[in-house]
Symmetry: C2
Subunit: 253 residues, 2 copies
Amino acid sequence: MLSIVILGTGNLAKHLFDAFLKAEDVHVAQVVGRNKEALSQFSEQCSVSNDFGTIADADVYLIAVKDDAIAEVASHLLTKKGVVAHTSGAIGLEVIQTDNKGVFYPLQTFTKGKPVSFQSIPICVEAESKQSLELLRTLARSISENVHHIDSEQRKKLHLAAVFVNNFTNYLYGIGESICLDEGLTFDLLKPLILETAEKVQHLTPKEAQTGPARRNDSESMEAHLELLNDEQHITLYKLLSQAIKKRHEEEL
Amino acid sequence: MLSIVILGTGNLAKHLFDAFLKAEDVHVAQVVGRNKEALSQFSEQCSVSNDFGTIADADVYLIAVKDDAIAEVASHLLTKKGVVAHTSGAIGLEVIQTDNKGVFYPLQTFTKGKPVSFQSIPICVEAESKQSLELLRTLARSISENVHHIDSEQRKKLHLAAVFVNNFTNYLYGIGESICLDEGLTFDLLKPLILETAEKVQHLTPKEAQTGPARRNDSESMEAHLELLNDEQHITLYKLLSQAIKKRHEEEL
């Protein structure tokens, strides 16, 4: 049985908590956070504390707080014997000052109130010592079948890649929505397409899945599209992305 | 019972054919196309012809060919009494010269060999006469529960919106993939995130779903990301999209 303490009470902390509650061989010993109201979500099922001076002993301490608060939270764990791991994609291992440092990064976007199955979520683990790495790996495997050893440099790149496929993609959804709404059309019309676009690259590479006027170098359609756009920023993005797609596929045309 | 003829043998023609074969009250009378080899996919289940001079009589003629071939295919249907409809998002109704003209546009991306359920796919119908519109609506309802009357101007905008959420989004997936591969990481790591990003906007608006450094105006993280990027075009896109997200959300910060 592995015991863990979760530090933090936000979105990721809650999703991790829910996942570990269901995991066999893992005991959530405590949830620690400053926000008393947020702690109340956990208090029925687990011991909670809003005092970083009274952190329970555990095998692993998972720090699930904002990036710029990790170092401060970790500073309360200097005398602990368990592994102290943060859960951030963008922050290196070195931000943690204890010897038993590690990273436990679930690569997913978490929405408040929307349950998610951890089973297929990649969990990227890293640690300074081999023993800590094995412990984090075991912990990760208790909730996911998709566990990877990824070092800090790789993880930062992965986090950057995630910005493109998640943050930026979501912004493109927003452009699609605004084009619809301007025309009195519901965004619902685009939703099946959005899902299928994501489904497609589960089996094909993005290059194989690419379609559209830019892919075919169909200048007439692209010019017609540009004439329909009013927003300067949408025009700039349309040109830039079309050019990039054209360039990527020109050898095939 | 409605009878239809499908003109064209490509990807969309095949997906429509498969859907209508299963539909009650619809009879696919014939598939017509130039490409004999492509016709063979249909010939076991349906009458086929590669001669545009011998098109069977039907209630509806669905033209599922490349945009620039629609007018020519329609020209073979001038004496027909049924409704002649094309299936393109980008082309107006007027390209068809017959009186009984219409549009039957399924808003989805179709992949060769990957079956798709039409049930939830939006089908956008348009026609010059009310009677033809009703006929197309009935036909659309035989395969989908998501049928909309959309005029040519709206449809062109919808098609443009689809380019943003499908073609451009897919290109961003490709950037994510290339960042992973450069680092020796598998694109598989990003796949659950890609799916969940698409799932998220099925229930939230893109604005509600937006996360990331630009959303939080976290300059430090954005600068760190820019330092990790080598490709000039990725840098330009990163800056442009981050700026746009920042601008969209600045009133909330």
